[in-house]
Every structure is written in structure tokens, then in C-alpha cells.
């Protein structure tokens, strides 16, 4: 399991960041403009499910096409005369399998990343803005986590992610999607 998560770190981070940012974009307008209408479980599930499904499709098509393109590149390096030959070998099945695992992991973390802030809004119906704070806090923690993984600057990573989150939240507030 640990190895799978390590191999699928890209999918995990993509899912988590996508889930949090999408929720910020979709829910900020609702929370700040219609605070009197509480976020329900049904709304939370709908938003988290929609982001997870769209994230899964985006991940599958972009990652699988990227991997197939890398196979074409490898074919050129190996001087293979026919294109698409490597895709019919074990490697072709391997990249499809890895991509599907990535889709699963990305979807789970996408759903969790979306559901967690919205759940707090359900717990505190009088202070729904807590959802936005929790989402931004999650981005801070994520920044610290990424920094420790890549031996980077935790402050720089956290601030960058929070700025991205704040920007997306501002757009969501202006557009007032949900």
C-alpha cells in the first residue's frame, strides 16, 4: 500500500489539490453570500462527487496520453520501424494498469479533499465560513508535506498553495457558482 501511494504520489497530490481548489471555487460564493442557507450533506456529496468524477476523467486522459507519448518516444530511441508496437507489449498493459490505479487514487483524494471542508460547514451551520478556513488550512498542511517530500521551503510551498486557493476562492465568490 505504501509503495502504491509512493508510486502514485502525483495522482494523490493532483486529486487532493484539485478537490480542495474546486470546493473553494464552488462553495465560497454560497458560504459568504448565502450564509443563511446551510450546506447540506446532499450538496456536499454532489459537489465532492462531481469534482471526483471530472478529476478522474481529466487524470485518465491526460496521464494515459502522456504515457503513450513516452512509449512513442522510446520506440524512436530503440529504432523501431513501426509505431505503436510497444503499446502491444507488457509495457502497454502496465501503463494502462498504472493509469487506472492513478485514477482510483486521484478520485479518492479528490473526493476527500472536497468533502472534508464541506463537512465542517455542516458541523458548524452558523459559521459556514469555517469550510473556507479549513480548506486553506489543508492547503497549508499540504504545502508543508510537499516541502518535506521535495526538501523544499515549507513556507514558500504553503504560501503559494494558499495564494492559489485564495485566488480561486475569490473567483468563486465573484462567479457565485453554487
Amino acid at each position: 500500500m505504501k509503495k502504491l501511494l509512493k508510486d502514485q504520489l502525483f495522482a494523490l497530490l493532483l486529486g487532493l489539490i484539485d478537490g480542495i481548489l474546486t470546493v473553494l471555487a464552488l462553495a465560497t460564493g454560497h458560504v459568504l453570500k448565502h450564509g443563511e442557507t446551510p450546506i447540506t450533506l446532499s450538496l456536499s456529496l454532489k459537489v465532492a462527487f462531481a469534482t471526483a468524477v471530472s478529476g478522474a476523467c481529466i487524470y485518465f486522459f491526460s496521464e494515459y496520453s502522456r504515457q503513450r507519448h513516452r512509449l512513442i518516444h522510446a520506440e524512436k530511441q530503440l529504432n523501431l520501424a513501426t509505431h505503436g508496437r510497444l503499446a502491444t507489449t507488457h509495457i502497454g498493459r502496465q501503463i494502462l494498469r498504472e493509469t487506472l490505479w492513478g485514477v482510483l487514487i486521484s478520485s479518492i483524494f479528490n473526493f476527500a479533499g472536497g468533502m472534508l471542508p464541506l463537512s465542517t460547514a455542516m458541523i458548524f451551520p452558523q459559521a459556514q465560513w469555517v469550510a473556507i478556513v479549513i480548506a486553506l488550512l489543508m492547503l497549508v498542511l499540504l504545502g508543508i508535506g510537499i516541502a518535506s517530500l521535495v526538501y523544499g521551503n515549507a513556507l514558500a510551498w504553503s504560501v503559494s498553495l494558499v495564494l492559489a486557493g485564495a485566488f480561486v476562492a475569490f473567483i468563486g465568490y465573484k462567479l457565485n457558482v453554487v
Binding site: 522510446a74 530511441q77 530503440l78 510497444l86 507488457h90 502496465q94
Partner: protein, 94 residues
């Protein structure tokens, strides 16, 4: 006449397949009793290997197919030993 030993020049992309996967694929072919894989060239994108396979009655086509199924490419058959007796090749010196 049974083929007893073959020496193949094989290339693979750096990332995939793993050398262990290639060895496992060759080993799964009937009549293969042993093999060795020696990496002799590492490029930016590719890895060149010399693969020696030994057995009593090797099926050359099946071995090549097994290697290519993993995603590696057989470039040439560089040496072949066959017959009842194993003969040590004598390399001509000029």
C-alpha cells in the same frame, strides 16, 4: 540439432521494462536452463544488454518473442552454439 547457447544483443528503454522482467520472461520459455544479462551500454534514453541463454534444445523464436513481449528489442543474434558438444568459440585475431 539442438541449440544449446545463444548470445543476443538486446536494447530497452531506460525506464521500462525492468531487467528482472526480461529475465523472468526468458526463463519462462521451455528448455531454458539458465541465462545471464550483462548491461554493456547505458545511453540517455536506452540500455544495451548482452543476453546469454543456455539450454538443451532452445527455441530461438520463442525466446525472441518472450523478450519482445516485455517491450525490449532484439537487435541481433551475435553467437550461437549447437550440437551434442559445447564448443568454445575461437575468435580470430588479426
Amino acid at each position: 540439432m539442438g541449440i544449446r547457447q545463444i548470445l543476443l544483443d538486446v536494447d530497452k528503454a531506460r525506464e521500462r521494462p525492468e531487467i528482472v522482467d526480461i529475465a523472468t520472461a526468458i526463463e519462462s520459455v521451455d528448455c531454458v536452463e539458465g541465462l545471464s544479462i550483462v548491461v554493456n551500454e547505458i545511453d540517455m534514453e536506452t540500455v544495451g544488454m548482452e543476453i546469454t541463454v543456455e539450454g538443451e534444445d532452445l527455441k530461438y523464436d520463442e525466446i525472441v518473442a518472450a523478450i519482445e513481449k516485455t517491450g525490449a528489442v532484439v537487435h541481433s543474434l551475435d553467437q550461437l552454439l549447437a550440437g551434442k558438444k559445447m564448443i568454445t568459440p575461437v575468435h580470430r585475431s588479426r
